[in-house]
């Protein structure tokens, strides 16, 4: 019998969390060491997936299946493909970084903090790896609790408000999703006679359009809150601002990806027709999010809030890519998910660094930091450029592919989204100017300590990833593409299942986009072209 690798990856952090939790409270060094070792060991466990996974092989790999609730047909089944592999790696790397970055920031109840962080990691990994919808839902909900506590216990002054808002908001969405999952379950049971929550079973199920509509709405609502899409985004600034640095990092880097992952894995392939019908609305919201997030980010006086709103803008790009419904859009969205994890995670860490030193996140409290903190400023510069999408960094490749995908589906979308490229430069550069340039405006900033060795160690992998994805994106693209193509083909087949021939998406502006049921995206007819 092969080693249950995925289970190992999921539950190793949980076991470590328990171990950390039973350590004596005073042994703070041991606690930190154990947590760090556990997080790094988890990276070592998960990293071989990068090589061992065969991207070209269709379907799930390293499959594990055990009976769980036989009466309901729910199974404990795990599987991985190119999409989830990249997200799993993102999760383990950023959790390790978050653990190491918290050494100095967390002083009270360190034991509980690290235990919760590791438990959270288990929940996140389970969500990405579950191939049974009930199991997925269990992990999805289980993830909420540690995050709620991380914000509520170790957060800033308004932490309780933020934690409750985060919890209730997410809960409201996921409850609807649970209802939708049950509906799917009964549809499947009626159609096939066997009770099952398996994702593959649902993939094979033909769902009548009316049911699709409601099911999609329920799923989309849950995921849109997580993404977060405008106008369901207001929990994000509060949660980010109040959460401790490690919490913000995980929240931005991984938890938001649950939303886009959900769209990619469930909402689009399961309900392709409803997806296609609602695409103009979703794209509309994504575009509003891109503009809105950027404009509101521009006027934020608080660094963390600025980064939080920039997330709204960036995730708008992800959603746009997904709803372009072609390979470039999908690949761009997927890459943008990773990019956002890396660069926004890094941005939150950077804000955390100055917060630890000055206990302020207000832009007005800084100014001229380049002089006392040259290394910090240089790292900040690189991360900012990645967030702005400068070619040569990871942000550009993702953004370009998303825009390319969007342009192929509807040039107007791409045109509107590309304005975000300008706006992101505006808010980021303005912030950078106010924080880094000029004379040192506050005397207490003059003698701040530059990045310590530990902090440099924290940023090194992120900087490497920023350039690696920017300069050599192909290894990443190679790993995600077969899975993305499969998802796309699945969505097209399932759409064709109930509407033979073609899918039509009516988009604003009088254009009609026809997606033929073949792999490459259609190009809208535009005057002056010969195709």
């Amino acid at each position: 019998m092969p080693i249950p690798w995925l289970s190992l990856v999921i539950f190793f952090p949980l076991v470590s969390a328990v171990l950390v939790a039973v350590l004596p409270r005073e042994a703070s060094r041991t606690i930190r060491t154990l947590a760090t070792v556990a997080a790094l060991a988890e990276v070592a466990f998960a990293l071989p997936l990068w090589w061992r996974l065969e991207p070209a092989r269709a379907g799930w790999q390293f499959v594990e299946q055990r009976t769980w609730l036989p009466a309901l047909g729910a199974t404990y089944s795990l599987g991985i493909d190119g999409i989830s592999m990249l997200l799993v790696l993102l999760t383990v790397v950023l959790t390790a970084i978050a653990v190491i970055a918290s050494f100095r920031a967390i002083e009270k109840r360190a034991r509980e903090f690290y235990a919760l962080l590791l438990a959270l990691e288990s929940g996140m990994l389970g969500t990405f790896l579950a191939t049974d919808l009930l199991l997925f839902y269990v992990f999805w909900e289980a993830m909420l609790v540690p995050m709620y506590l991380l914000i509520g216990v170790w957060g800033g002054p308004r932490r309780v408000y933020a934690a409750v808002k985060f919890f209730l908001y997410t809960m409201a969405g996921s409850v609807l999703m649970l209802v939708a999952i049950l509906w799917l379950y009964f549809l499947n049971k009626n159609a096939t006679g066997t009770p099952s929550f398996a994702l593959d079973a649902f993939y094979a199920l033909s769902i009548p359009p009316a049911a699709q509509w409601w099911l999609f709405l329920a799923f989309a609502f849950a995921f849109a809150i997580k993404v977060p899409m405008f106008p369901l985004h207001t929990w994000l600034p509060d949660a980010h601002v109040e959460a401790p640095t490690a919490g913000s990092v995980i929240l931005a880097a991984v938890l938001l990806k649950m939303g886009t992952y959900g769209f990619l894995r469930f909402a689009i392939p399961l309900f392709p027709q409803a997806s296609a019908q609602l695409a103009p609305w979703i794209v509309g919201l994504a575009l509003v999010g891109i503009w809105y997030g950027a404009l509101v980010a521009m006027v934020q006086p608080d660094l963390k809030k600025l980064v939080a709103y920039s997330s709204v803008s960036h995730l708008g790009f992800c959603m746009l890519g997904l709803y372009a419904m072609n390979s470039q859009g999908f690949a761009g969205a997927m890459l943008q998910m990773l990019n956002h994890g890396v660069s926004t995670g890094a941005l939150f860490l950077l804000v955390g660094v100055v917060y630890e030193r000055r206990h302020s996140r207000m832009i007005a409290d800084f100014g001229g930091l380049w002089k006392p903190l040259p290394v910090y400023a240089a790292v900040f510069l690189v991360v900012m450029l990645s967030s702005v999408g400068l070619p040569g960094t990871n942000g550009f490749v993702g953004e370009f592919l998303v825009l390319l995908g969007a342009f192929r589906t509807n040039p107007v979308w791409a045109g509107l989204a590309a304005v975000g490229v300008i706006l992101s430069a505006v808010y980021m550069l303005w912030m950078f100017q106010r924080v880094m340039f000029g004379p040192v405006t506050h005397a207490e900033n003059e003698h701040l300590a530059d990045l310590s060795f530990r902090e440099r160690l924290v940023f090194a992998p992120l900087l490497i990833l920023i350039f690696a994805i920017g300069v050599f994106p192909q290894p990443f693209l190679d790993r995600m593409q077969p899975a993305l193509d499969r998802t796309l083909a699945l969505a097209r087949q399932r759409a064709a299942l109930s509407a033979p021939g073609r899918v039509e998406i009516a988009v604003p502006g009088g254009l009609k986009v026809v997606i033929p049921p073949q792999p490459s995206g259609g190009t809208p007819p535009i005057e002056g072209t010969r195709r």
Binding site: L168, P231, W235, V296, M298, L404, A418, Q481, G528, R530
Partner: protein, 638 residues
């Protein structure tokens, strides 16, 4: 055949950047200077080698592609990191590495006392890498990497003295204005790749005639979007406002980035995509008109500026206008020719201005200069060469290229553009000699303190000036019609721009008219020069009288037509205020208000329900009993 090793040309400066980052301050000032100059010098050597290898090939085979690796491939889209050497990029790499090398050497003297010496050369080398990537790229996407890369370096170098708020502000402005252009460029690329399937030059240009209807909306929009990118990078109307502010950077930076190389990237890109622009006549007209308008507009502003570097900045904008004018009328070869000669004399002008500023202890105001010719003999001599060159007096370099542009405009029937160009030439000659006279001739207006420290610059600065002066003198001679069917420069570019080069779409003019045109433009230049000498040397009251005669015009020119103020009031502030309102009112009150409203709604329900929860056991027991009785009654009824 030996490979020309193209990748090594941009890789060398990048390697220097990496080395400098790794070694840190252990390198020392001398080490830093040697590393930076050495890398660029070696790049220049490889560029010469590559150009020679290219020249050795037969004309049809003058295009060498080197694929480094596959950058990205998604579905049917793919892009490589690949380099292309053809006559056009050969000219560009020679200009970039050649002028770049001279400016690096100059900077070792100019920046010698700056505390951030290493950082300066780090940025400068990074710039060389990005610029060389831009010109050597064999597809638009990789060009875009260099395109934004040079923008980044420009941002960093303008804001090099970051403690100065105006410098930081100028850097940000440059980046953001460039981003507006890049927005267009990006969309243009998307349009091209969507309909032709590739961004690789050969594939793109050969597919375009099939993919697009000539003169149709799609290609017109696509090329106009590309041109929007060019206006940003090359500081043309409407995106020119960043360049004058960019003078906040160190002077060698202004010479390298904001005169000789980066700002010409837009011209290079339009020339590179000439076959696309030729499919869209309307776009070409727009290019010509924007170029001509910018040439004249910037020249008028240049008339009234008192900061020596700002005069040069507006002159750069104006000269870039000429280059676009050339591209717009179809004389792409002439545009590139002017690009090259301009790189020589404008770099020289900036470096000379830098030498003056250096000598005067950072004084940039022309009103506090004068009579420097005797004190700074070398600087004066080389500056004079450059000023004559830009004014367009034969046999200096600027004459040949500018004349060719005007010739192209006339021959292609753009008489209006030609007239504007001619008028611009008069103004150029005038304001450049105004600068020359105010700085070097007449009596000294230098402050006492600066007078005391006045000194000629060190050899590391003078030698580059001297080399550039020679180039400004003879650089145009390859434009002499030594042979039939165009001059050597034009023949060299022929594989790129097609047979007949600049004259492909143009009526041949009779020799008499050609001579007449040359005479007219020389006379125009002389007119400007004579007037400048009169107004600022012979009879200084003339300038004052003119100013008093038309005060409104003068004020308008001094304030640069209030464009910056207008943009600030009409775009920047409204956007800022709207965003504030979006956040404070819309996001916090309406969107989040709705969320909290839902919360309050439930809270309200709960407050009502809480009344039942008295905490008295008796009440609960009563409700229990009532419930039981109700159930009992219900069952009894059935």
């Amino acid at each position: 055949m030996t490979l020309p090793l193209l990748w090594i040309i941009p890789a060398l400066p990048l390697g220097a950047v990496a080395l400098s980052l790794l070694l840190g301050d252990r390198l020392g000032r001398r080490g830093t200077a040697w590393l930076a100059c050495g890398a660029v010098g070696a790049s220049f050597a490889f560029a010469v080698r590559a150009a020679l290898a290219l020249a050795a090939r037969p004309e049809e085979g003058r295009s060498i592609t080197e694929v480094a690796y596959r950058w990205m491939q998604v579905g049917d889209f793919s892009a490589n990191v690949a380099f292309l050497l053809d006559p056009l990029s050969a000219v560009m790499i020679l200009v970039v590495t050649g002028v770049g090398f001279l400016i690096h050497v100059y900077s070792t003297g100019y920046m010698a006392h700056d505390p951030s010496f290493r950082r300066f050369f780090l940025y400068l080398n990074l710039f060389m890498f990005a610029m060389l990537t831009l010109v050597l790229a064999d597809n638009l996407l990789l060009l875009f990497v260099g395109w934004e890369g040079v923008g980044l370096c420009s941002y960093l170098l303008i804001g090099f003295w970051y403690t100065k708020p105006s410098a930081a502000e100028a850097g940000k402005k440059a980046f953001i204005v460039n981003r507006i252009g890049d927005f267009g460029f990006l969309l243009g690329m998307l349009a091209l790749v969507t309909w032709t399937g590739s961004l690789q030059y050969d594939a793109l240009f050969s597919a375009a005639p099939q993919a697009f209807v000539a003169g149709g909306i799609a290609i017109t929009v696509a090329t106009l979007l590309l041109f929007l990118g060019a206006t940003g990078k090359s500081a043309q109307i409407p995106l020119y406002t960043w360049l004058p502010d960019a003078m906040e950077g160190p002077t060698p930076v202004s010479a390298l980035i904001h005169a000789a190389t980066m700002v010409t990237a837009g011209v290079y890109m339009v020339a590179r995509c000439h076959s696309l622009f030729q499919l869209a006549p309307i776009s070409l007209e727009v290019v010509a008109v924007v170029g001509a308008a910018t040439a004249l507009f910037a020249a008028t502003i240049g008339l009234a500026q008192n900061d020596i570097k700002r005069v040069l900045a507006y002159s750069t904008i104006s000269q870039l206008g000429y280059m676009f004018m050339a591209c717009g009328v179809g004389a792409f070869g002439a545009g590139i020719f002017h690009l090259m000669t301009h790189a020589f004399f404008k770099a020289l002008l900036f470096l000379g201005a830098g030498s003056v500023i250096h000598a005067l202890s950072d004084e940039q105001d022309l009103r506090r200069m004068g009579g420097l010719a005797k004190k700074l003999p070398w600087t004066h001599a080389t500056m004079l060469v450059a000023t004559i060159a830009i004014a367009g007096i034969p046999p200096f370099a600027g004459f040949f290229s500018k004349d060719e542009i005007l010739h192209g405009a006339f021959a292609s029937g753009h008489y209006g553009v030609w007239a504007v160009g001619l008028l611009g030439a008069i103004l150029t000659a005038f304001y450049m000699f105004r600068l020359y006279v105010l700085a070097f001739r007449g009596g000294s207006r230098v402050s006492h303190e600066a007078e005391h420290h006045l000194h000629e610059s060190p050899p590391s600065m003078i030698v580059p000036l001297f080399v550039l002066a020679i180039l400004s003198l003879i650089g145009g001679w390859i434009g002499l019609p030594f042979q039939r069917g165009g001059h050597p420069f034009e023949r060299w570019l022929e594989p790129v721009f097609g047979a007949g080069g600049a004259h492909g779409t143009m009526r041949p003019l009779s020799p008499m008219i050609e001579w007449l045109l040359i005479e007219v433009s020389v006379v125009a230049a002389l007119l400007g020069i004579v007037f400048a000498f009169r107004a600022y040397l012979k009879d200084p009251s003339l300038a004052t009288r003119l100013r008093e005669r038309w005060p409104a015009v003068h004020r308008m020119l001094v304030h640069k037509y209030w464009v910056d103020e207008g943009l600030d009031a009409l775009v920047v502030m409204p956007l800022y205020r709207a965003s504030q309102r979006l956040w404070r009112f819309w996001d916090e009150k309406i969107v989040d208000g709705a969320v909290n409203g839902v919360g309050f709604l439930f809270e309200g329900f709960s407050v009502g329900l809480r009344l039942f929860q008295t905490g008295f056991v008796g009440t609960y027991a009563l409700f229990l009993t009532l419930g039981a009785v109700a159930l009992l009654l219900h069952f009894l009824r059935q």
